[in-house]
């Protein structure tokens, strides 16, 4: 079934929020809302031992391979969509990423997008990582596996290279899934999960990991990850005979299209208040910006995918992979701003779910 797009990207609509500086102004009470929240960096400084937030040696090299996607989800923090044809990583940049992986001790590559599989060099890059014994995590939106015949063999390809699949599924019902991701997404996602199960993904004993990402379809925070996981397991098994490994509950960040949704639905201030009130200092040690480097399609380096989308580059001389310098990066302090409250609410949130 074809997916009915939720709309166009902020960029294609030339929306004010396509400007990342404007987004930062909103988050700091200078545009749209005059509500001010305690500065995040000060909050961290006064509640933890981290007067400045420093990284540990990177464990994960996260590559945002491009903004092209077959969906235009309402909450997308990347502002991805079918209209983002320009911003996609080229072969030379991927080669440079491989060189960096060869020079460092980083053993995990986390490929995200957009829909990473739409990048012309995707399969080649996975093969190259696989040759180097690097674990590949692929953030798959599921429907791409059904979008076109040329993607139908991807489950088999993933299996051959032992790719760890992390798939977004906001809910186990059509209504809530389609309201976030577009009409038709739920049915295609279920078909894709079945195809992954068929080759062994998410099946006990297969060693092929299929994790799901849950993020709320609206202006509310995710509940307890373990409870949500057992509920998803029960519902997906009963309704569709689908199995998976773990569920990561991820908080929606108040940036990009989700910020637009919050503002247009009148939920922005309540949502920010909820995030700030749920600030939990014990999440800070495990923040993903501490063990991850995030690289954009054009080779710039960021503390995380969210900072990337706000165009907040690393605070170090080594801001581009062409000048990659692990020593300089290790000395940096992580760039924090008000959106970071999305990572420290409740049990914390990262690309791997809860952090405490």
């Amino acid at each position: 079934m074809a997916i009915k797009q939720k709309g166009k990207s902020l960029q294609a609509r030339d929306a004010q929020l396509a400007d990342t500086f404007f987004q930062l102004k909103v988050l700091n009470g200078k545009e749209i809302s005059d509500q001010k929240y305690p500065p995040f960096a000060e909050q961290v400084g006064s509640t933890t031992d981290h007067t400045v937030l420093r990284p540990i040696y990177p464990e994960i090299f996260q590559i945002n391979i491009g903004k092209l996607c077959n969906q235009t989800c309402a909450h997308c923090h990347v502002d991805a969509g079918p209209d983002r044809k320009e911003e996609n990583m080229d072969r030379a940049t991927l080669v440079r990423c491989l060189e960096i992986l060869d020079q460092t001790q980083i053993k995990t590559v986390d490929i995200t997008g957009g829909a990473p599989e739409m990048n012309a060099h995707f399969r080649w890059f996975v093969e190259e990582c696989s040759k180097r014994d690097i674990t590949v995590m692929n953030r798959c939106n599921l429907t791409i596996l059904r979008a076109n015949k040329k993607y139908h063999d991807l489950p088999q390809f993933f299996k051959e290279h032992g790719v760890h699949i992390i798939s977004s599924l906001p809910y186990f019902s059509k209504k809530r899934t389609d309201s976030q991701r577009g009409d038709g997404v739920f049915e295609d996602s279920i078909a894709a999960l079945k195809a992954l199960n068929e080759v062994g993904y998410g099946v006990e004993g297969s060693g092929l990991l299929l994790d799901l990402v849950y993020n709320p379809a609206g202006a509310f925070l995710p509940g307890d990850q373990a409870d949500l996981e057992s509920e998803f397991k029960r519902q997906l098994a009963e309704r569709f005979d689908i199995t998976f490994n773990s569920l990561f509950a991820i908080t929606n960040m108040p940036i990009s299209r989700f910020l637009e949704y919050l503002i247009s639905s009148g939920n922005y201030e309540d949502y920010m208040t909820e995030l700030v009130n749920a600030y939990n200092p014990s999440t800070v040690d495990g923040l993903m910006c501490r063990n991850t480097l995030s690289v954009s399609w054009d080779g710039y380096i960021y503390d995380c995918d969210f900072n990337q989308m706000l165009d907040l580059k690393v605070s170090a001389a080594s801001q581009h992979i062409d000048d990659f310098d692990i020593e300089a990066l290790m000395q940096r302090s992580i760039v924090l701003n008000q959106h970071c409250y999305g990572c420290t609410a409740g049990a914390g949130s990262s690309c791997g779910g809860e952090t405490v």
Binding site: R176, D227, E231
Partner: protein
């Protein structure tokens, strides 16, 4: 006090302030409340579904807002929420209707 309406959604956030006028009892209530909603013989999820049903029968808009939000966070689907309210509605209407036996008794007692 410019707000002249009886119900203000923002007052829900001030619920904790009831300790201002009577600290000891307020605190006991909140401790008790928190304990009630912990996992026990019933799960937190089941307890929240009971809470939304009761919230409708006592017609408390604050509780309805609070538990609708809580159930969304817990990943409960719309059908389950509505079924819980139907349980409340069925008991309320049943309780109304079962009293009609009394009405019928009286009518029959005094009628020829």
């Amino acid at each position: 006090m410019s707000n002249k309406s009886y119900f203000n959604p923002d007052d829900l956030k001030k619920f904790g302030n009831i300790t201002e006028f009577q600290e000891e009892l307020g605190k006991k209530f909140f401790d008790y409340y928190a304990a009630v909603f912990e996992d026990g013989a019933l799960t937190k999820r089941e307890k929240s579904l009971i809470a939304i049903a009761v919230a409708h029968t006592v017609q408390c808009p604050y509780c309805i807002d609070a538990y609708s939000h809580d159930l969304l966070q817990k990943g409960v689907d719309e059908e389950s929420m509505m079924e819980a309210v139907h349980v409340a509605a069925a008991i309320k209407s049943g309780a109304t209707l079962v009293n009609s036996v009394q009405m019928m008794n009286h009518v029959k007692n005094v009628s020829m």
